[in-house]
C-alpha cells in the first residue's frame, strides 16, 4: 500500500519554479531519502507534503486519501508527522510539556476541566517517548535551556509522540556533533520499519544508511529515484551533488 504519494506536484514562487511536476510513491513502512544540493526544492517539497504551503499544481495522497487541500492539522490527524530543519519547539515550556502537547493531540486536547498531566494513558505515552529518546532526566527543564543536540532530539520526539503513520524528517542531523549524529542515526534506525519515513538530508551518509530508496531532486525536479546502491553509483549524482568537494569535507 502506498503511504504517501504525490502526482505532478509543482510550486511556483513568483518567477521561480521551486518544485516542478514531482511524482512520488512511498510504500507503507518504507524509508525514503530525498537528497539534492542546496536549492533543489527539498524543503519546499516538505512544506507541500505537510500542508505548510499550497501547491500551484498537482495532488497529494496520504494512505490513499487525497489531502491536497487539507491544512497541516488535518493531515496530522490523518497520520502525517514532521520535524523542522531548525528546531521548532515551545521554548517557554518544559521538555515534558513539549512532548505532552504532541501526545495529547489525539486524545483530550480540548478538555478544560482537569489537569493535562492527569490523563494516565497520555502521560504513559509521554514517559515512554522520553525514556526511549533519552531525555527523561531533562523532563522538567524549560526547552530554552537545552543544548542544540538535545533540542534536535526533542524535535524528533515531538513528532514521534503524535504517533504518525508517515513521518517527514527535515535535516534531523543538522548541526549535530559526531557523537550526537551517531546517536540520532541509531534512534532513527530503531524506528525505521515501524513508521513510514521520508527523510530530507544534506548528510548523505545518514540518508544512505537509513533509506530503502532514494529520490534525487535537482532544480525542483526528480532527477533519479532508485535503490541506495544504484543512486550511489549513478554518475549524475557525482556531477550534481556527491562530487569531489564533498569527500574532503567528510575526511
Amino acid at each position: 500500500m502506498t503511504a504517501l504519494a504525490a502526482e505532478g506536484l509543482s510550486k511556483r514562487f513568483a518567477g521561480l519554479m521551486a518544485v516542478r511536476s514531482v511524482d512520488l510513491a512511498i510504500e507503507d513502512g518504507e524509508c525514503r531519502a530525498i537528497i539534492g544540493p542546496n536549492g533543489a526544492g527539498k524543503t519546499t517539497l516538505f512544506h507541500l507534503l505537510s500542508g505548510v504551503e499550497r501547491p500551484s499544481a498537482g495532488r497529494i495522497f496520504l494512505c490513499g486519501q487525497e489531502v491536497t487541500r487539507d491544512p497541516p492539522y488535518t493531515r496530522a490527524h490523518k497520520g502525517l508527522g514532521r520535524t523542522f530543519q531548525i528546531s521548532s519547539l515551545f521554548g517557554k515550556l518544559t521538555v515534558e510539556e513539549n512532548v505532552l502537547l504532541a501526545a495529547q493531540v489525539k486524545g483530550a486536547s480540548f478538555a478544560m476541566h482537569r489537569a493535562a498531566t492527569s490523563y494516565g494513558p497520555v502521560m504513559e505515552k509521554v514517559e515512554r517517548v522520553l525514556e526511549e529518546g533519552g531525555l527523561a532526566h531533562k523532563r522538567s527543564v524549560p526547552v530554552r535551556f537545552l543544548s542544540h543536540g538535545e533540542q534536535r532530539q526533542l524535535e524528533l520526539l515531538l513528532a514521534l509522540a503524535a504517533e504518525p503513520r508517515v513521518l517527514l524528517l527535515d535535516e534531523p542531523t543538522a548541526g549535530l556533533s559526531e557523537a550526537e549524529r551517531k546517536s540520532m542515526t541509531a534512534h532513527l534506525a530503531r524506528i525505521r520499519g515501524s513508521t513510514t519515513i521520508v527523510l530530507v538530508s544534506h548528510d548523505v551518509d545518514v540518508a544512505f544508511a537509513l533509506a530503502d530508496r532514494v529520490t534525487v531532486l535537482h532544480l525542483g525536479e526528480v532527477l533519479l529515484e532508485d535503490t541506495v546502491d544504484a543512486v550511489r553509483q549513478d554518475p549524475r549524482i557525482t556531477d550534481i551533488y556527491l562530487g569531489e568537494e564533498i569527500e574532503p569535507q567528510r575526511a
Partner: protein, 331 residues
C-alpha cells in the same frame, strides 16, 4: 543570597517566589487581608476594593488571551460594557429578574466575543490589537448613539442590587456586596487555574510559543484561539454584571479604550501568563487611577508612563520579576 535552584513549570527559578512554597502563604495572607480589611475601612474604600475585584476578573479573562495565547487585545472593555448594558436593559426596560438577566448578560458578552473573534482572528500581532480596538470603539459608538435602547451618553441608571431572600443582609451594604463579588472572584480564579492547567490551557500556551508547530502537530489553532477569545469575553461579561450592580448604572464610557488599556496594563504589570498576575495588577492600577484622579485629569498619560516603565524594567511583570534570581534582575 541566591535561592535554591528549582526547576519547574515556569522555568529555572531562583527568585523569592521560588524558595519553597511561598505562593500558598502569600495567597492566604492576601485572602485574609481581603476578608478583614473591609471591616476597618469606610464604605468608599470598600467600593474601591470591590472595583479591584471586578477589574481583576476582567483582567484574568484578558490574561487568557494576552498571557496564555499570545493575543494582545485592546477591546476587552467591550465585553464588560455588553454584560453591563444587557443586564441594565433586561432589568430596567424589560422587567426581567436579576438571575436570568445576569445569566443572559454574561451569555450576551460571550456572543459578542463569538462575533468579534470571527473578525479579529483574521489577523495576529499588532493588527489583531488594532482590530480589537476598532471593534470596541464600534461597541462604544453603538452604546453612545442608540439612545432609545442604551440611553445614549446618559447611559442607564437606577439599577438596584438583587435581594437574596435567605440572606439576612442587604446587598445595598457595600461590605455585603463586596463579599458577594469576592466569592465570585475566588470561584472564577479557581476555574481559571484549572483551565490553564488543562490540555486546552496547555494547547493555548503551545500556540503562544509556536503556532506553526502546533498546526503541524494536529491542532486547529484558530479554533483554540477562537474559544479562548469567547472565554475571555465571558469573563468580561461577568465583570460587566458585577460593575453594573456596583455603580447601579452603566455609561458608554465603559466601552472606551481607557478601561481596555487599564485591563491590558493590569495583565502586563502583574505578570502575563501567570494566574495571580492580573489580580496584583488590578490591585495596583485601580487604586492608582483613583488617586491620580485627585491630582490630574490626564490619567491616560500616567497609564502610558507606567506601561513603558514596566515593559522596560519588568517585562515579565511583578510576578515574573519576583520569580527571577538576583543575577537576572541585575542583568
Amino acid at each position: 543570597m541566591m535561592g535554591r535552584l528549582q526547576v519547574g513549570r515556569a522555568g529555572l527559578r531562583t527568585g523569592f517566589l521560588a524558595r519553597g512554597g511561598w505562593a500558598l502563604p502569600l495567597g492566604l495572607a492576601a485572602l485574609a487581608v481581603g476578608i478583614l480589611l473591609p471591616f476597618f475601612v469606610q464604605p468608599f474604600f470598600v467600593d474601591i476594593m470591590t472595583r479591584v475585584l471586578v477589574f481583576a476578573i476582567l483582567a484574568i479573562g484578558l490574561n487568557l488571551l494576552v498571557g496564555y495565547t499570545g493575543l494582545p487585545s485592546l477591546g476587552q472593555a467591550a465585553f464588560l460594557a455588553m454584560g453591563a448594558y444587557t443586564l441594565a436593559i433586561l432589568i430596567k426596560r424589560l422587567g426581567v429578574g436579576h438571575l436570568p438577566a445576569a445569566l443572559a448578560a454574561i451569555a450576551a458578552a460571550g456572543l459578542l466575543g463569538a462575533v468579534f473573534g470571527l473578525i479579529a482572528l483574521r489577523a495576529r500581532g499588532a493588527t489583531f490589537l488594532l482590530i480589537t480596538l476598532a471593534l470596541a470603539q464600534s461597541a462604544w459608538a453603538i452604546a453612545f448613539t442608540w439612545r432609545s435602547v442604551t440611553g445614549g451618553d446618559d447611559g442607564i441608571g437606577g439599577l438596584t442590587r438583587p435581594v437574596i431572600g435567605f440572606l439576612p443582609w442587604s446587598m445595598e451594604d457595600a461590605r455585603v456586596y463586596y463579599f458577594l463579588v469576592l466569592i465570585v472572584f475566588l470561584v472564577l480564579l479557581w476555574a481559571f487555574r484549572i483551565l490553564v492547567r488543562s490540555p486546552f490551557g496547555l494547547a493555548l500556551q503551545g500556540i503562544r510559543d509556536n503556532e506553526l508547530r502546533m498546526r503541524s502537530l494536529g491542532y486547529n489553532t484558530w479554533l483554540y484561539q477562537y474559544v479562548a477569545f469567547i472565554v475571555a469575553a465571558l469573563f468580561g461579561g461577568v465583570a460587566g454584571v458585577l460593575r453594573a450592580y456596583l455603580t447601579e448604572a452603566v455609561t458608554p464610557g465603559w466601552a472606551e479604550v481607557t478601561p481596555s488599556a487599564e485591563a491590558l496594563l493590569m495583565v502586563i504589570m502583574g505578570g502575563p501568563g501567570t494566574i495571580v498576575g492580573p489580580v496584583i495588577g488590578a490591585a495596583i492600577v485601580v487604586p492608582a487611577g483613583q488617586i491620580a484622579n485627585f491630582f490630574t485629569n490626564r490619567w491616560m498619560i500616567v497609564l502610558g508612563a507606567i506601561y513603558v516603565v514596566v515593559v522596560l524594567f519588568a517585562p515579565g511583570g511583578i510576578v515574573g520579576w519576583l520569580r527571577r534570581g538576583p543575577a537576572e534582575k541585575r542583568a
